[in-house]
Structure formats: structure tokens, C-alpha cells
């Protein structure tokens, strides 16, 4: 099946305003999204997520590479491609604060060239589905942040496009509203059969909603896999060793040289080593180093990791991780 979004070898570099230094914001990024999928686009600040999202939206022109939305190259046919995509890029700032909820929805629908009849029907439907009917006459600046965020998402739904891009949809929301928005996003995929791409720093949201994640770091895709696969990978590979004493300086140096992803917590009674063992033989090497000074191993076990830890390991590891 042909993907609904196909990003191929996309590059984008910026010149810094003052120093004129060239910064490679996106470096040969490729990934695809299938219809009905929820993809999480992750990365630390300045990784190139927003640049990638803006290029998919056609708001930024890539230096090279192609982006196809429903088979349409958005670098060549931007306006045609925009019929298939909508976005919430700046959350509640995407709205007119001095217009009411209904007026915002009607304006944005009209701006896509929809007829008055179409606008009326669509707006009524969205007010009902997003539980905004009671607030329809309220000015946006009087709404809570959560309500504003819901409205911004409703605006993106006006387009009836195949794909919705959401940049930080839960940023600044309290727990309850964040949960509500999360449920809303799930229902968008289920009930409206849309494809969703979410960029977020909130790992709980990503873990809860997304089927797959693409992690970008320093402009490059470092991981493109299903969340469960990433979790399984790190669950299997992360170990904790409880030692009956301290390591010697020589042992510590050897371990640090051999295992870059290692945390040592010294304690005269129970020291611990947390380490990721990506190759099977690595565990024997670790035991060899411990055996050098006959350091007692009291116990060892797999570490339970959450998605945030997985993300941190991937980003800090810096190397491309291939799974499955």
C-alpha cells in the first residue's frame, strides 16, 4: 500500500542571521506514514522536528528531497497538496482571540472556499463532536487553555483532510485537560479515520497515542520504529547489577571504556551498575571485569524502562538504532 505521506531524502539548511554560519537543520531525512497511522515525531529542542513538520505543511521549501502527500509532491503542487493536509502549529495562537468559537470555525472554513451551507453543517458537527456547543458564543480569549486547544484541533478538522499535523498538542495543559485532548486525538483517528502526525515533548502522550515514532536528533532520523519494539529492545538490553562492595579504579575505567551507556552508583555495602548490553557477548565481558578483583555479584536483573528513558537513551546514544 502506498504511504499517505512520503518524505524522501529531505535536506534543509539555514544561515544564522548574524554570523551567516550555515546550520543543517534537517539532514537527509526520510520516512513514510501509512493511512490511519498515528506517528510521533520526537527529538530534543533544535533537533529539526518543527522544520520537518513545516516542510510537510509546505510552509518551508526543502533544499533538496521530496515530500509527497497522497501522491502529490508538495514542493511542486503546494496548494493541491494542502487539500489533503491540515495542521495545528502554534496551538491556541492559531486562533483569532477576538472572535467567538463559532466565528473562528466559520471563518477558517470559509477561507478554504467552502459554501455557506457546507460551513454551517460542518461547524455544527464539530461543535457537537468537540463538545464546544455550549461555548460557541464565547470569545476565544475568555476560554481556558484546554478549550482553546480543543478549538484549534477542531479548526484543523474543518478541512476534512486525510492528514492532521499537531505540533505540541498538549503543551501547557493541566493533567485533566491533557487527558481530554489525548482522548480526543484517539477518537479523531478511530471515528474520523484520519492519519495523525504528532510532535511532542510529552512522552506519556506519545506512548499512549502513537503507533510508531520517528526520532530526530541533530537533523537526522535516529530511529523509526514501533513504540513497543523500542520498549522491548531497551527492556531486554538494560540490566542492573547489585554488587557486594566497591569497584576498583581500574575496573571502573575498563567498564566505562567498554560500555558507554553505563551508570555506576558506588556504595560500601551495595554498589549498583546500570548498563545497556546490546550484544550477547557483552555480559561475559562485564563478568570478566568484575572477576578481575573477585567483586561479588549479589544479583542482577532486567531494568523496567519507560518510554521517556528509551527516548533519552536513543537521543544520548547518538547512533542509529535499527530494530526489527
Amino acid at each position: 500500500m502506498k504511504p499517505i505521506i512520503e518524505v524522501k531524502n529531505v535536506n534543509k539548511a539555514y544561515k544564522k542571521r548574524r554570523s551567516k554560519e550555515c546550520v543543517q537543520a534537517v539532514d537527509n531525512v526520510s520516512f513514510s506514514v501509512q493511512k490511519g497511522e498515528i506517528l510521533g515525531l520526537l527529538g530534543p529542542n533544535g533537533a529539526g522536528k518543527t522544520t520537518t513538520i513545516k516542510m510537510i505543511c509546505g510552509l518551508l521549501v526543502p533544499d533538496s528531497g521530496t515530500i509527497e502527500i497522497s501522491g502529490i509532491d508538495n514542493t511542486k503542487h503546494r496548494l493541491r497538496a494542502l487539500k489533503h493536509i491540515s495542521a495545528v502549529l502554534e496551538g491556541n495562537r492559531n486562533l483569532y482571540w477576538r472572535l467567538t468559537v463559532r466565528e473562528n470555525l466559520e471563518y477558517f472554513a470559509g477561507n478554504r472556499g467552502k459554501s455557506r451551507k457546507e460551513v454551517k453543517e460542518r461547524v455544527e458537527q464539530l461543535l457537537h463532536d468537540f463538545r464546544l456547543k455550549e461555548k460557541e458564543k464565547e470569545l476565544v480569549n475568555r476560554l481556558s487553555r484546554g478549550m482553546q486547544q480543543k478549538l484549534a484541533i477542531a479548526v484543523s478538522m474543518l478541512a476534512e483532510s486525510d492528514v492532521i499535523l499537531l505540533d505540541e498538542p498538549t503543551l501547557g495543559l493541566d493533567v485533566e485537560t491533557g487527558y481530554e485532548v489525548r482522548e480526543l486525538l484517539k477518537s479523531i483517528v478511530k471515528e474520523y479515520e484520519r492519519t495523525v502526525i504528532i510532535s511532542s515533548h510529552d512522552m506519556d502522550v506519545i506512548q499512549d497515542i502513537c503507533d510508531r515514532t520517528v526520532i530526530i536528533n541533530k537533523g537526522k532520523v535516529v530511529t523509526d520504529d514501533k513504540i513497543e519494539n523500542l520498549m522491548r529492545l531497551f527492556e531486554v538490553k538494560s540490566y542492573i547489577f547489585n554488587l557486594g562492595g566497591l569497584l576498583t579504579d581500574q575496573q571502573l575505567e575498563l567498564l566505562q571504556n567498554r560500555f558507554t551507556e553505563m551508570t555506576y552508583t558506588p556504595d560500601t555495602i551495595y554498589s549498583t551498575i546500570e548498563v545497556d548490553l546490546f550484544q550477547n557477548e557483552a555480559i561475559y565481558e562485564l563478568f570478566d571485569i568484575l572477576k578481575m578483583e573477585n567483586t561479588p555479584v549479589e544479583s542482577f536483573d532486567r531494568v523496567t524502562v519507560n518510554f521517556e528513558q528509551v527516548f533519552m537513551k536513543i537521543v544520548n546514544g547518538g547512533e542509529k538504532i535499527c530494530v526489527g
Binding site: 513545516k54 494542502l82 491540515s86 495542521a87 483569532y96 477576538r98 466565528e103 471563518y107 470559509g110 467552502k114
Partner: protein
């Protein structure tokens, strides 16, 4: 049909905002009127009494057209800057209609609403001065439409510049004086001004409103110049706007303020 829907959506938004920002609208109208009173008093008390009547008539037409020109030419530039500040500009760029169409619809809506205000102000100024001008709608409307199209072209040029350099307010202030020069000087005194945007149109309207010239008395050549001027500046404005858009999209300047 999509154009009409787009125009309707923008007309409604402009009307709602005009109502919701009523104090601003009232302040704008009051400022217009008080500045006019000041200029009128100048003619009455300082100017030559023998030409006071003609000067007042010229003042009314020139001042009203300067105000109209200011509104049409500055609107899109201000709108782009405001949308970028609010954070809604990128959302407009997500419309498959294209921003130039949205801005054209918004400008047309703004012109419709502002012409209503300006018409009221025109009658108020005429009543204040006691100088009743020739309001020949059939002659004025085609000239006005072509003049506004030419003004819209200049508006698109400024909007294009404001996409790249968002802080154009200082430039827009200087523009007020350039506009005053273009609307106040007659083509008869400086014939080369005929190649400038909207000057010919303002000149023809002056002829209609002050000298009572009718549609049949305006030559085809004059209309040809007006038409050519309108199309030239509108197309040029649009080309500059679209080029600036492309630069902004390449450099990532759309959302920057």
C-alpha cells in the same frame, strides 16, 4: 464560487472586527474629521479668499482619496504583520486557496466597508464646508474600481515586503506622505505622474466631482491609460508578493516576527 465564499468569509470577519473594535473605528473616523477641520480652517483663515471655494473642493476630494489610498495600500501590509504577531499567518498559509487570494478577498472586504465609512465622511465634510460636489455615481464607480485595483497592486507590493521584513511600520508612516503627494498633485501639473499608480484615477475623479465631467466626456484614451495602469500595477504587485512569499518559504521567515 469559491472566490465568493472566500469573500463572504472575509467580509464577515472584517465586519465583526470593525464592530468589536468599535472604539478604534470611532477614533479613526474622528481623527479623519478633525484633521480635515484643521485643513479647512487653514484655507479659510490663511489662504487666498478669492480661491477659497475651489481650494476647499480640491481639499475634500484629495483628502478623501488620500484616506482611501492609505486604507487600501496599507491594509494587506498591516494584516500580514498582525497575523504574524498573532500566530495565525501560518494557519492562513495552510489554506489551499493561497494567501494572495485570501488577502485579496480581505482587502476587497475592507474596501467595501471603508467606502461606506468614507462616503459618510465625504457627506459630512461637504456639509461642514457647504461645498456640494458632483456625485455622479455612474461616472465615478468605473473610475473608482480601476483606481482601487491599482492601489491594491501597490498594497500587494508592500505586503510582500512585510512578509520578509515584518517591522515595516516606519516605512508605512513615510508612505503616508508619498501617498499625499500622489493624491494631491494634479496630472496636469506633472504629466509624468500618469505612469504612477492610481494618480490618473484620482485626477479623473477630481474632474468629475469638481468640474462636473460626465462619463461620455472622458475619452477612451483616458480610460485606456487608467485600465492599463490598474492592470500593470496589480499584476506587478502580485508578482512581487508571490516572489517575496517564495523567499520567505525558502528562508523560513513566514512565522517570524
Amino acid at each position: 464560487m469559491r472566490w465568493i465564499n472566500l469573500f463572504h468569509a472575509n467580509l464577515r470577519k472584517e465586519y465583526i472586527e470593525l464592530k468589536r473594535y468599535l472604539p478604534n473605528t470611532i477614533a479613526m473616523v474622528a481623527t479623519f474629521y478633525f484633521i480635515f477641520l484643521g485643513l479647512f480652517a487653514g484655507i479659510q483663515f490663511i489662504g487666498d479668499p478669492s480661491s477659497a471655494e475651489a481650494n476647499t473642493q480640491y481639499l475634500i476630494v484629495n483628502y478623501v482619496f488620500w484616506f482611501l489610498g492609505l486604507m487600501v495600500i496599507q491594509t494587506i501590509g498591516w494584516e500580514i504583520t498582525n497575523e504574524a504577531m498573532r500566530g495565525t499567518l501560518e494557519q492562513l498559509y495552510m489554506s489551499p486557496m493561497g494567501v494572495w487570494r485570501i488577502m485579496a478577498a480581505r482587502l476587497a472586504s475592507s474596501v467595501v466597508l471603508n467606502i461606506m465609512i468614507i462616503t459618510v465622511l465625504l457627506f459630512v465634510t461637504m456639509a461642514t464646508t457647504g461645498q456640494w460636489l458632483n456625485i455622479d455615481i455612474i461616472t465615478i464607480i468605473p473610475i473608482l474600481i480601476l483606481t482601487i485595483i491599482s492601489m491594491m497592486g501597490v498594497g500587494f507590493m508592500i505586503a510582500g515586503i512585510s512578509i520578509i521584513w515584518k517591522q515595516v511600520s516606519a516605512f508605512l508612516q513615510i508612505l503616508q506622505f508619498v501617498l499625499a503627494g500622489l493624491t494631491f498633485i494634479s496630472v496636469k501639473q506633472a504629466p509624468f505622474l500618469v505612469y504612477f499608480p492610481f494618480v490618473k484615477g484620482v485626477d479623473l475623479v477630481r474632474d468629475v466631482m469638481i468640474n462636473g465631467v460626465s462619463l461620455s466626456q472622458i475619452g477612451i484614451a483616458d480610460f485606456g491609460i487608467l485600465f492599463g495602469n490598474a492592470i500593470f500595477y496589480f499584476v506587478l504587485g502580485l508578482i512581487i508578493f508571490i516572489l517575496c512569499e517564495r523567499i520567505a518559504m525558502r528562508k523560513g521567515l513566514l512565522a517570524h516576527y
